[in-house]
Subunit: 170 residues, 2 copies
């Protein structure tokens, strides 16, 4: 099969990757139903939601030097997701959308990504705001948010119509 | 052990997660040594690097509706990374930094995240620029980049001194 065909060959290196939690989210939300769907929430809704990212003691040294950053990227597992869909109807929408064009938890690999504001660190805990995960969410990775992660002149596809609220009725 | 202790208990739900590649990166870089360390590259260096994200045919329908977005988030595996460190000396630096304050591939879970510019889609392939991964990198997830992922008033810790280039000599 040629490289130029749209369908990719499976990479020969590895059939699957095994990731272990390095910590856990401590959030005021205990049930997924308590959260408004993050991409549809009012712009500053989550900035008030405070909590902690607590890493297991063995990983505490890996947090060194994070304090100087204003924002962190947290990769986590949607541990409550059961199975996945290729297309889904996002909350409040009426049309099916490809799952990779949504932030739905029901993805082929149930990986989540949130950018949080970092307020401080004590030992193995990071004090954060902007939380849109539930309490107990397994954390897989933490990265510093850098200027390269900040993009301008965004187009936001099917979300754009929704993000600006319902259309005015005529 | 109390929840308020800094050390978190391991979440009871799951000891490890197994993720399978959903596709692969097609990049002009074939060797990690060909890439400048992304966070240290000149601001527009990677924006010229073009390539493709090709998903396996079975996941092609999941790409529907992505075309309307200007940028995508790609989560991938650092498949060449062997083992991890809790602290590392970033390229060109002289001090050890906690691994979670860096974008090093040698992380407890070798997960990478890049924001790419999306130029178009044909079938199961996305035409992108901003690539900072090597050819053959296994893709684990693709998400739309939304206004919530765009943060302002960044502080960039130890990186700030480096990001502005070497200090003027006195």
């Amino acid at each position: 099969m040629s490289k130029d065909r749209a369908g990719a060959r499976r990479p020969p290196v590895c059939e699957a990757f095994r990731f272990r939690p390095v910590g856990v989210v401590r959030s005021p939300y205990t049930n997924p139903k308590d959260l408004p769907p993050p991409v549809f929430a009012p712009p500053r809704f989550f900035s008030r939601v405070r909590g902690r990212i607590v890493v297991f003691d063995e990983f505490a040294p890996a947090l060194d030097d994070l304090e100087g950053f204003s924002h962190i990227i947290v990769l986590f597992a949607f541990h409550r997701a059961k199975g996945f869909k290729l297309r889904t109807v996002p909350p409040g929408q009426s049309r099916l959308r490809g799952i990779f064009s949504t932030r739905s938890p029901h993805r082929p690999n149930p990986l989540g990504m949130s950018v949080l504001r970092l307020h401080g660190r004590s030992g193995s805990a990071l004090d954060v705001s902007g939380l849109d995960m539930i309490d107990g969410t397994p954390v897989l990775d933490i990265k510093p948010y850098t200027p390269r992660d900040r993009k301008s002149r965004l187009r936001t596809g099917w979300l754009a119509r929704r993000a600006h609220g319902p259309r005015p009725s005529r």
